[in-house]
């Protein structure tokens, strides 16, 4: 018993500690989620007859969604968004910054980290206005810098624009997490590898990566989930033009709240939840495999 519970907390007290948090989560998170599942099976609408007396329509919403060109397009855009801005953009850039800045105290490190963090902690309403000012067609700062007046970034390249935007917005988390993870890599091991003539790539692959695998997986899981459900890009493009940047959260908003089809929107939300579950399951399996290796 004391092996499993070295601090002597005991089951009963442990439950008492967890309970307040769980109750709050239960009422304001799980309950609304279950409600969403129910709504997804109805034809509930914001206005009209179906608003007063919604009917259960079973899986109709789901068959409609899967046959809908706009939904499939939105799903594809979302995958591009998650892969491009989170898995590749934020994780790689965040790691690169953390790697370059490791063991390098001084003003350069403080300023770089400060700027990257600033992008992360500023309120999203403010950030959206900043990027509108940067990318504006007529007076945008970027066009002024590149001498490309009248170039409509958000209209001609909506997906690349919001991908770069999200890299800018979210890299800080990966940078900090990898920065902390890199502190777990003993400098002496890196030194030995360097003296043995290992290139940077070899050092990363053979010395660093095996030690921070767990951090990498946790990081990828969190940023993928956050990016998958990110709504901030709505304030830049609102999914346009012509749905070319309509990632799933924006699609749900447009269909459910602008379009008033609450039941259909709830069904899509549930599909999003399922896709995220698959994501998490894959990461969880990878994480478990790692633990098996570390603790034989």
């Amino acid at each position: 018993m004391s092996q499993a519970d070295p601090s002597g907390l005991g089951r009963a007290r442990a439950v008492g500690f967890v309970l307040p948090g769980l109750v709050l989560i239960g009422v304001f998170l799980i309950f609304p989620a279950l409600w969403t599942i129910y709504l997804g099976l109805t034809d509930y609408r914001l206005t009209g007859l179906a608003a007063a007396d919604p009917q259960v329509v079973g899986v109709d919403n789901y068959t409609t969604a899967l046959g809908d060109e706009r939904f499939r397009n939105s799903l594809w855009l979302t995958l591009q968004y998650v892969l491009g801005s989170a898995v590749v953009g934020q994780a790689v850039l965040g790691f690169a910054i953390a790697w370059v800045l490791r063991n390098r105290p001084g003003p350069v490190k403080r300023i770089t980290e400060g700027l990257v963090l600033l992008a992360w902690i500023l309120p999203s309403s403010v950030i959206a206005f900043l990027w509108i000012a940067l990318l504006d067609r007529d007076d945008g700062t970027l066009n002024a810098l590149l001498h490309t007046p009248g170039f409509a970034w958000l209209l001609d390249y909506p997906m690349p624009s919001i991908i770069v935007f999200n890299v800018w917005r979210g890299t800080a988390f990966s940078m900090m997490l990898y920065g902390a993870a890199l502190e777990n890599v003993p400098p002496s091991h890196l030194e030995t590898a360097r003296l043995a003539g290992a290139s940077t790539f070899q050092q990363l692959r053979d010395v660093v990566f095996p030690r921070i695998k767990g951090h990498v997986l946790t990081n990828l899981l969190l940023i993928s989930l956050w990016t998958f459900n990110d709504f901030t890009s709505f304030q830049l493009t609102a999914g346009g033009p012509e749905g070319r940047s309509e990632i799933l959260p924006v699609y749900i908003y447009n269909v459910a709240l602008s379009g008033g089809r609450l039941g259909f929107g709830a069904a899509i939300s549930f599909l999003v939840l399922l896709i995220n579950l698959v994501f998490a399951f894959v990461y969880l399996r990878l994480l478990r495999d790692r633990r098996k290796v570390v603790v034989p």
């Binding site: 070295p6 442990a14 967890v18 998170l29 609304p32 969403t36 309120p123 007076d139 749900i252």
Partner: protein, 272 residues
């Protein structure tokens, strides 16, 4: 030696690009609020503080800052306390299915807090008489932040050695005493991280207060920012840029303070 020089040049170039990329969008925030005739372009301003004065004439601006503060502080306190208790218990006592539970909650929190659960949340708040109250916003936002907070804090708690707790227990300390006097000081950077993260999240959240509050006297700054339009529907750039700057300052100050005081870092436990 050449390899070393190349590496230094490469590193410097990389850092210069990173600095440029991250500072470029921020320039507008530094220049437009002080410009007498702000446009969308970043330019050297025709310097003025007049924008701040006209901002203060707006009746909702100051009260919205107070509302933001109330909602952010309330949520952060609630999240930190509840998450610390839960993370400690989950880290120390083996409960079957614990990891699966945490992952499911984490998933739900990232999906349900978005647009997905807007309708149920609104109906729930209506039935609990939480519409138009700060408490409603605080509880809704905290419920969404808690899973990730527990998840991150549990990592910190797992990283601390249990030997101190064992000795404290031998000397007859109660569980709450152990938590307060031994565990909390060890994971303080983690708690600071969670608090800053929660405040920044609530400070920036737009959707939930927008749905749950009807009275503009209770609306936080993130919502008021979107009301600063002329009657013709054009954005009032002087007010928007100035208020953006004003609204950003508290989170920046908080970050600087916390990072000086506790070291804003993603590692828990005793330094090696």
């Amino acid at each position: 030696m050449t390899r070393h020089a190349l590496a230094t040049i490469g590193r410097a170039t990389f850092l210069a690009v990173v600095l440029g990329f991250f500072s470029l969008p921020l320039l507008w925030l530094a220049s437009a609020p002080f410009d007498a005739h702000p446009s969308i372009t970043t330019s050297l301003p025709e310097f003025t503080f007049g924008n701040f004065r006209s901002l203060l004439d707006n009746p909702y601006v100051m009260s919205s800052l107070r509302n933001s503060l109330l909602q952010a502080a309330g949520s952060a306190a609630l999240v930190v306390v509840l998450a610390a208790l839960a993370a400690y218990a989950l880290s120390r006592v083996r409960v079957p299915g614990r990891d699966a539970l945490l992952y499911v909650l984490l998933l739900l929190s990232s999906v349900v807090t978005g647009t997905a659960a807007m309708v149920p949340l609104f109906e729930l708040a209506t039935r609990l008489n939480l519409i138009d109250t700060h408490l409603g916003v605080i509880l809704t936002l905290s419920g969404g932040l808690l899973p990730a907070a527990i998840f991150i804090l549990k990592d910190f708690m797992d990283g601390t050695p249990t030997s101190y707790e064992e000795s404290a227990r031998v000397f007859g300390a109660s569980s709450l005493q152990i938590l307060r006097h031994i565990v909390i000081p060890l994971v303080r950077p983690g708690l600071a991280t969670i608090a800053v993260w929660a405040v920044a999240n609530v400070w920036g959240s737009f959707l939930q207060p927008f749905i749950l509050l009807r009275d503009p006297d209770k609306a936080p700054g993130a919502v008021i920012l979107y009301t600063l339009y002329t009657e013709g529907g054009a954005p009032r750039l002087d007010l928007i840029s100035t208020f953006s700057l004003l609204y950003s300052l508290p989170v920046v100050v908080m970050y600087v303070f916390v990072s000086r005081r506790y070291g804003f870092r993603f590692h828990g436990g005793i330094k090696r």
